[in-house]
Amino acid sequence: MPPMKRGANVALTREIPSLTGVVVGVRWDAGREHVLEANLVMATLLCDRPNHAISDDHFVFFNQLSSPDLSVHQLESALAGDKEQIEIDLATVPAEVTRIVIAVYVNDGPGARRTLGQLRSCTVRVLNRADHAELVTSEDLAPALSLETALTLGEMYRHEGGWKFKVLGQGYADGITALARDFGLSL
């Protein structure tokens, strides 16, 4: 299957009715930018409507590895070449969760500021949790980035009783602060 472009979507559970869980993996290449590499953070937001995370507890990242209902959790060690991975148990995602947005941001630490524009490549892909077969992958989202420090990569969302995946690729120049504000989170 060719890489999905920004805005493209696929009906995962319609294509694979037996799909019970997925692994969403993110790959990036920061080249020799070691500080950027160390400060890149993957985050997953469980939303009850577009651009609205249910609560701060529904922001899954390295410091909060699971959603309260345990349906979404981030793996401490990503496999198969991904930098970070989250696992979604589709059957146990609460009904109130209608969208699961996957994002990446640069943590604004004490050192020099880095941007996502320094990435050589950045893709998101979806695997079947049962056999780790790759279902879809996105196009390289890095070339369109410049001064952004946060980026929504893709989202899983409910559609007609099933789940679809969409590639987003929306950047935020104000980083995690803007992303959090956009999704109603309090930092």
Binding site: D69, T177, S186, L187
Partner: protein
């Protein structure tokens, strides 16, 4: 009179569980008399029955730390709420209910920072806990806004990492980051006159605890006035120093990382030197060069 468990309010989410687990704050006498009532071995299933009933009558008595008690209770509302615990279609209630035995750790039961808020730590309310989100995003800055002592004052910090390593960061030395050999420092000193320390929250899990110490370079006792200003991306915490007695050093604020959450406590403990201040907080594995500097 005990309500019917099938009509009792179901436990449907973790937040609800957390609220009920606040039982520990209630006086212990209430739960104590409850256990002896049923006969121990007479009828095992019968013993499990009364528990939920008592719970629904008074949620504060529910012992949620006990997995066996929690399991039947979470399962109970499912049949009452939905027609059948069948299979794929209705997973949200049934399946999540079954997995609630591994929730987040119990709440810290400390004051939390209000959303986008500003808070002052006072002697009456000296502690605040940040959420995991606020504890893991951006930088936590600690800045001394102190009018006493003039240029003689320094803000320093004793720290212990999750690895067990501990040391003391005195910005008034050649070493202005910690740990000393780290490629990406957890702690960084900056600002004019060595009065700002920053914690890289991307590495919050590597930090176990810290205590921020104000001290005079000359060792002269200082009458403290001003505050420590602690800020993250979206919040600010002010820690006034005023009630502290005059001293050459002051352990102003302690910080603990509790399962990803940062807990800050206003201390205002006077000491004769930074070394003494750190020792009083249990930092006893630091190789000191003198009372204010460590061996590099």
């Amino acid at each position: 009179m005990t309500p019917d468990p099938t009509t009792a309010r179901p436990r449907t989410d973790l937040a609800f569980l957390s609220v009920r687990s606040a039982r520990a704050l209630t006086p212990p006498p209430a739960p104590a008399p409850a256990p002896p009532t049923p006969t121990p071995t007479a009828a095992a299933p019968a013993v499990t029955e009364p528990v939920p009933r008592a719970t629904s009558a008074s949620s504060a008595l529910l012992d949620l730390d006990d997995a066996p008690t929690a399991a039947p209770h979470t399962a109970a509302p499912t049949p009452a709420a939905g027609p059948a615990p069948a299979t794929p279609g209705v997973p949200a209630s049934g399946a999540t209910g079954a997995r609630r035995l591994d929730p987040s750790p119990p709440p810290l039961r400390l004051a939390s920072l209000p959303t986008g808020g500003r808070l002052m730590l006072t002697p009456a309310a000296p502690v605040v806990a940040l959420s995991r989100l606020a504890s893991g995003v951006g930088t936590l800055n600690v800045e001394a806004a102190v009018t006493s002592g003039g240029d003689d004052l320094v803000l320093s910090c004793a720290y212990a990492l999750a690895s067990g390593q501990s040391s003391f960061l005195n910005p008034d030395s050649s070493q202005r980051t910690a740990p000393p050999d780290a490629r990406l420092p957890v702690l960084t000193a900056s600002g004019e006159r060595s009065r700002r320390l920053s914690i890289d929250l991307r590495q919050v899990r590597t930090l176990s605890r810290a205590v921020f110490v104000l001290h005079s370079r000359s060792g002269t006792p200082v009458t403290w006035s001003g505050a420590l200003l602690i800020s993250t991306i979206g919040a600010r915490i002010d820690v006034p120093l005023e009630p502290a007695p005059a001293s050459a050093a002051l352990a102003a604020v302690s910080l603990y990382q509790v399962d990803g959450r940062l807990v800050l406590r206003s201390e205002r403990d006077p000491a004769g030197s930074p070394r003494e201040a750190c020792a009083s907080f249990g930092y006893d594995a630091i190789a000191w060069l003198d009372d204010a500097h460590v061996i590099a």
